[in-house]
Point group: C2
Chain length 302, copies 2
């Protein structure tokens, strides 16, 4: 049976939007400014790719155990917590002291609208709120504890998101090397994508060895997605991207095409996806929707 990727992406992002709407404090909650800032950043047109990957991993594990099963009950709350963490990283990345970006997806960034102080605190609050959501997940307590551990490591300084951000800042002073670009991509974006898949699997009760296959799948596919992001930044216009195109090359940012060129970048992404798919063999036909989403992400043109 063919997989309708557009339907998965559309219904998945709608489901995450509705869940975020329910989980975030209402905009008239005191203090007003921070709650308006949270909603401004969370509902700024994100594609919800990490939560969708998380939900598809959970559905795959559930379906492989019982072919009548679909998305595990409440998995959209796990996906929403992951989206909060992703959004917190964007809010802080955009700050004047970091990337100093005034626009994201064509809209003014949090600090432009609410000021730097509230933007710093809004990022902080999204991280905090994510852990509150995790503490209320509808899965057994040991699974929640594993998910908290996975997510905190994936967003941390040693091999996670913050570490990648620091490497990126430090790397701006020198010409990018292949090792540096790969290290930054794996930590800055790869770790949270990988943990989205891993935690989806844990939520659905995957065995430890299945979780490890999801981890390897995530590492390879996550790197492929980032390579495609890098390529699109070079080849697309500002209008299509909703941000300042070519910004990464202008500041000699550490990107895959800057080191390897566009042709090899596209080939690397395709090879990584093939290798990632090999990890999903044990899930049989249950893996088709997740694989279709991953294939779409490396073949997209915008």
């Amino acid at each position: 049976m063919p997989v309708d990727v557009q339907h998965i992406l559309h219904s998945g992002s709608e489901r995450i939007d509705q869940t975020l709407e329910r989980l975030l404090p209402a905009p008239d909650t005191i203090p007003h400014s921070i709650h308006r800032a949270l909603r401004h950043t969370v509902f700024a047109g994100g594609k919800r790719l990490r939560p969708i990957l998380c939900m598809e991993a959970a559905r795959m594990v559930a379906h492989h155990k019982n072919s009548a099963a679909s998305y595990p009950d409440g998995v959209e709350e796990l996906g929403s917590a992951i989206e909060m963490l992703h959004t917190y990283s964007l809010v802080h990345d955009d700050l004047p002291a970091l990337d100093n970006d005034d626009l994201r997806r064509g809209k003014p960034t949090c600090h432009v609208v609410f000021g730097e102080a509230i933007a710093i605190l809004a990022g902080d609050a999204l991280q905090t709120q994510a852990y509150e959501v995790l503490s209320n997940l509808r899965c057994p307590a040991p699974a929640i504890v594993s998910i908290v551990r996975e997510i905190s490591i994936a967003t941390g300084t040693v091999e996670g998101m913050i570490g990648g951000q620091v490497l990126d800042i430090e790397g701006e002073r020198q010409a990018p090397t292949a090792a540096m670009v790969e290290a930054i991509h794996r930590a800055k974006t790869g770790a949270l994508i990988t943990t989205s898949l891993v935690c989806g699997g844990i939520y659905a009760g995957a065995s430890p060895d299945r979780v490890e296959h999801l981890r390897v799948f995530g590492k390879k596919a996550g790197l492929a997605f980032q390579i495609i992001d890098d390529v699109l930044d070079v080849t697309q216009s500002s209008e299509q991207l909703g941000k300042t195109a070519g910004k990464d090359t202008a500041t000699v940012k550490a990107t895959w095409p800057a080191v390897y060129g566009i042709e090899k970048s596209l080939a690397d992404a395709a090879n990584l996806i093939t290798a990632a798919f090999a990890e999903m063999e044990g899930f049989g036909a249950s893996a088709e929707p997740l694989k279709a989403v991953a294939r779409y992400l490396v073949e997209r043109k915008h």
Copy 2:
């Protein structure tokens, strides 16, 4: 048997320092700058009051259940996670966009030494690392989940630390009222102090009604500690405090003495502690060390 408060404070802070030393990544971990920044801020001379209150609450609960029991195994890791969260809030509060403080406890603040970008990320990282530590606590998984929930609410925007910080920023534009000062204190500092006690109790396996007594104790005692902090800021010199004294009155910050004067502030703090102690009656003599620490904190002169 008399309680040796100085010994509790000294050995408690030493134990927390040793645990933080073990839990934080080594300073030569890559990327270097962020790991050096974490240690700079965490080992800047904090008194470790929140972890000490947490450990004493846990000891009280354990001792009340079994008079041969002392501190529950591993409770210093819970205390260290709470100290990381407290430190993250200080690092971000000190940033130029917030309080713009160059000194804390007589030492240059994180952004002065490492720059704003690393200071923002170091604060983020301390929050992240705290949750990683919580996920590894040596207590049953349901207790860990409860602790994650308590701590995320206590540091959040609705009734927690970030919300209090926002109220404080918003309040700077107007003359402080009694209701405003109390709301700020309860959220900005009271919530984390309360949760330190509550989580210490949960860690030691306290029953739900005992946990609620600890919560009321924490709310009253936490407010008393903050009132004393406010009073000391007015009455002490910069040298004794290691920060710019009188800064709160200079900017008409929302403080207890600014609304009520010093004499009534001292009386309020004493009355709050008496009311807090009434909550501890069910713990009998097991509560003496915790009460002695609380009494010391409202009677301290610096």
